[in-house]
Symmetry: C2
Subunit: 336 residues, 2 copies
């Protein structure tokens, strides 16, 4: 509505946002610009399960980065279930938090407003804005690590449900009476299709003294308990046959669950991120085969693509930063 | 913007819409007003699985009702999966249709534009507009009959996915390797939580010559094959103990699947309709118990309500009629 100004306006640096990703094993903080680029990133180990200690680490990270960048907004993605206003982590299976007033505590620590969201929602937002999901009307993101982080983007909006808990696809029960899950149930999908599941299968094979586990044990100094999802993934990428079989098995469970989500949600795209996605086609090829074999109505419908995430382990902090930067603006601006 | 008119305006009858519900066993047609009331309803048996014969029956029903009512719009809900534009039934497990150009054929038969949608979407729309779902931001409707008709309403819009196939919750696999489904897969939820599942369990019990099946057999003239879901439901309502057990078992599977949908979608409300919902609390009480026992994060989250549908077997035609009547108007008008 204003007329153009004739006075020269000093050029201000583009606004930067600080994104923080709180996971079960690490806290990452990064300075992110409006194009989703990370200008600087810092990482710390998650200091146990005590929320106060985590908040202190976040305070240190923010203080350090604020000393070197002009930060306009701060967004946090945490591995827990947020209430709808984004103030309280009501339940976090992997951090062992319950009813944790994270936003209030962080605002007191940081002396500024912060946006708090679920880490999987943050990662999905990043992939939709800057990564594999660009231009898709509907996208499901699955972040495979300790468990399955899930999020659904519909028409430029992360769908959070009536109470803020939507997207917990990893806790859909796909094997009644199956493996026990951190959430308390049995048979949750993430007990079959996650980095943790891959590690568990490797350890079980080793403890059975199966000759097939020789390669796994050699990589773990002969100790089954050292066999983690990361160890098996790395071995698979080196060509070790048993590790590749285990990754493929996890891919089959992943594809089955994706077929279930396609039945329910029919998105155009599934994006697979998280540590386990480093296995690439060793994981995604069996995933796609199992998806197509289990998809209801197969051969008579359009099929969603299954793609690897593009933003890597920084997706969570990039998404948290971008959500914080854009939250005050009409969402329509970000629709495609 | 217009000033009020001083000339008297002749009062026109409120516009009426004709809704048609094509199921595996019956075709129902009804004249519906803007309040969702059915002014007249006709029913015919579905004439086998031939699409031409079904279209002919629809032609007769519309012709008869048009003779007695001023119809402004026609909407069809069919037990099949529509493409996104609503022109083709791409797959119908229970009608055995594939790539059926239903809208084009009906427009040729009826000489007018028609709206074609999925029957479960239509029923959900009716319950959201006029029934159990009024005032809820998010609602999942499950119509329990031959299978599970599913639909999700988000903020006054039926969520259809990227390609039109969303809401097929009944084909989520909850028991890998389980019962074979009409869709071709094994272990689909609707093989455990539907009227057909209830009938199958009753027949199996009778064929095992279990003394527990005496009541079921007596109601079926001693012939196991006569034991259907409706027979078991009616017996349960009369107080027969085995029938009540079987209904409760189906309720437990229903509750498990609802817990899965709550994990994924977190709606405020689940509405249970279809023939099996006639069992009322005999079904819904065990459903709610199983839902609460299997809900991930239970005790730390808001829980969705599980309610019986309010519009009965006419919900599908009411919803199809109302979608046809309102489809040309901005959806925002119907947001609450």
């Amino acid at each position: 509505m204003c007329s153009s100004r004739s006075d020269p306006v000093p050029e201000l640096p583009a606004p930067l946002s600080l994104g923080i990703d709180i996971g079960g094993s690490k806290v990452a903080a990064g300075v992110v610009n409006a194009e989703g680029e990370v200008l600087e990133e810092l990482r710390r180990a998650t200091p146990g399960r005590d929320a106060r200690a985590v908040e202190a680490v976040i305070g240190e990270l923010v203080h350090e980065l604020e000393g070197r960048h002009r930060i306009d907004s701060v967004g946090i993605g945490a591995a827990g279930w947020m209430d709808l206003p984004g103030s309280t982590v009501v339940f976090s299976p992997h951090l062992a938090w319950r009813d944790e007033p994270l936003r209030q505590n962080l605002e007191a620590t940081l002396h500024r407003p912060v946006l708090v969201t679920n880490d999987a929602d943050a990662a999905a937002w990043a992939e939709w804005r800057f990564g594999a999901g660009r231009g898709r009307d509907r996208m499901v993101m699955l972040t495979l690590g300790t468990g399955i982080g899930g999020a659904l983007v519909i028409d430029g909006r992360v769908e959070r449900g009536s109470f803020g808990m939507a997207g917990e696809f990893g806790h859909q029960i796909i094997m009644p009476g199956g493996h026990r899950c951190e959430c308390g149930n049995r048979g949750c999908w993430e007990q079959y299709a996650s980095g943790n599941a891959l590690g568990r299968e490797g350890r079980e094979l080793a403890r059975k003294h199966s000759p097939m586990a020789a390669g796994l044990l050699a990589a773990a100094n002969g100790r089954p308990k050292n066999i983690t999802g990361s160890v098996v993934t790395a071995l698979a990428l080196e060509g070790e046959a048993t590790a590749q079989e285990l990754v493929a098995e996890v891919g089959e469970w992943l594809g089955l669950g994706i077929a279930n989500l396609a039945a329910a949600l029919d998105p155009a795209l599934f994006v697979i991120g998280g540590g386990l996605s480093a296995a690439g086609e060793l994981l995604l090829d069996p995933t796609r085969r199992a998806y197509l074999r289990n998809l209801t109505g197969r051969g008579y419908r359009q099929e969603a693509l299954i793609m690897k995430a593009q933003l890597g382990p920084s997706a969570g902090l990039v998404g948290a930063a971008d959500l914080a930067r854009t939250q005050q603006r009409p969402l329509e601006r970000y629709r495609r």
